[in-house]
């Protein structure tokens, strides 16, 4: 990848274009760091939420048999804590949605348009037998696909951790508490 970047730099400098254009182009692609940082932040926060949900799921699974037999109030308290953590995690997910919703829309539109333009460049490189253009356009296409994969896998991992048995377990905790109160 560093070789590709070097190739970019050398080719940009040696081609006969104005200095202003060179500076603009190089600066322009460096600013792409900013939205990619937003993507990195979203993916790491989403992954952290997934890990919390997995931790909650594991804790509930460990404690649920004693809830059914209603033996130990200590474990009921532990399950209550996990329920509260689950509700808090749902709140965090809503906050992530509010904070990153607009960014994800922009990112998906960028990927959509970028895939079309890079595909067009690949086609053009095939027609004009320009290997460099084809390779670089192909790499850009792969980068867009990587961005799409990161977004979809982050969202999918959250939903996969919230499984039906966990929701049923949380409902059964509520009913156990209701029985104890009676």
């Amino acid at each position: 990848m560093l070789c590709l970047a070097t190739l970019f730099g050398i080719d940009t400098i040696w081609n006969e274009i104005s200095l202003v254009r060179t500076v603009l182009d190089l600066s322009g692609f460096l600013t792409k760091i900013i939205p990619v940082t937003a993507l990195a932040l979203f993916c790491t926060l989403a992954r952290l939420v997934t890990l919390h949900l997995r931790n909650i799921r594991t804790s509930i699974k460990e404690n649920i048999p004693s809830v059914v037999s209603r033996l130990k109030s200590q474990r009921l308290n532990s399950l209550n804590i996990q329920r509260n953590r689950y509700l808090l995690t749902c709140k965090v997910i809503r906050q992530l949605e509010q904070c990153f919703g607009a960014y994800l829309t922009i990112e998906v539109c960028y990927i959509f348009v970028g895939v079309i333009t890079s595909s067009w460049f690949v086609l053009m490189s095939v027609l004009s037998e320009d290997l460099i253009l084809g390779v670089l356009s192909g790499v850009i296409f792969v980068d867009h696909m990587a961005h799409l994969y990161f977004i979809t896998s982050s969202s999918d991992s959250i939903t996969s951790e919230v499984t039906l048995p966990i929701l049923l377990s949380l409902a059964s905790i509520n009913s156990c508490y209701a029985d104890i109160d009676r």
């Binding site: 990848m1 081609n15 006969e16 600013t31 990195a40 890990l51 067009w120 053009m124 990587a146």
Partner: protein, 174 residues
């Protein structure tokens, strides 16, 4: 008036569980420092008033980026014919012309839109609401393994960012 750049909460004013070395702030320390470097400093958690220098720094960087992409688009719009002629052995087509313009527009909107969202996210109240929710999840956490994994993920993310930036537009060859 200089402001002390603070990535983590002040140890003297935070609850005990935040004084543990491995927590949410520790796992995201690298990413928050990186955000300082690119001109989007997240506010410190315990400051009640955001630092003036940070605020001006963010605004200046945003307008620089906006100006840069406006120049790129205007230069591209006025000089696209000569740019397209430098591609592919001097062959210039209408499709290539429009492809370059759409490409430039797409990148400009992506960068400016992404920058705007990050600025909105790192407003003091929004950022503190988000981080305080994660801090609450810290309580009653049986293991710190979650934060070790998060830290590892932020390292991978920071390594990936420069590579993604270099996978960029073919118009740089022009």
């Amino acid at each position: 008036m200089l402001c002390r750049i603070q990535v983590e909460p002040n140890e003297q004013s935070t609850p005990d569980h935040l004084n543990n070395s491995i927590n949410f702030f520790w796992s995201f320390k690298l990413l928050t420092r990186w955000m300082y470097l690119i001109g989007i400093p997240p506010p410190a958690v315990t400051e009640s008033v955001s630092c003036q220098l940070n605020r001006y720094f963010r605004i200046v960087i945003f307008f620089l980026v906006l100006l840069l992409h406006s120049c790129i688009l205007m230069d591209g719009a006025f000089n696209t014919k000569s740019i397209t002629q430098s591609y592919v052995s001097g062959i210039s087509t209408t499709a290539l012309f429009w492809n370059l313009i759409i490409d430039g527009l797409n990148l400009g909107m992506y960068v400016v839109g992404g920058h705007s969202v990050l600025l909105l996210l790192t407003r003091p109240q929004t950022w503190r609401d988000l981080t305080s929710s994660f801090q609450l999840l810290d309580e009653d956490l049986p293991t710190i393994g979650i934060y070790l994994q998060s830290r590892r993920l932020t390292i991978y993310a920071i390594v990936y960012i420069p590579f993604s930036v270099f996978f960029t537009k073919i118009k740089l060859l022009a």
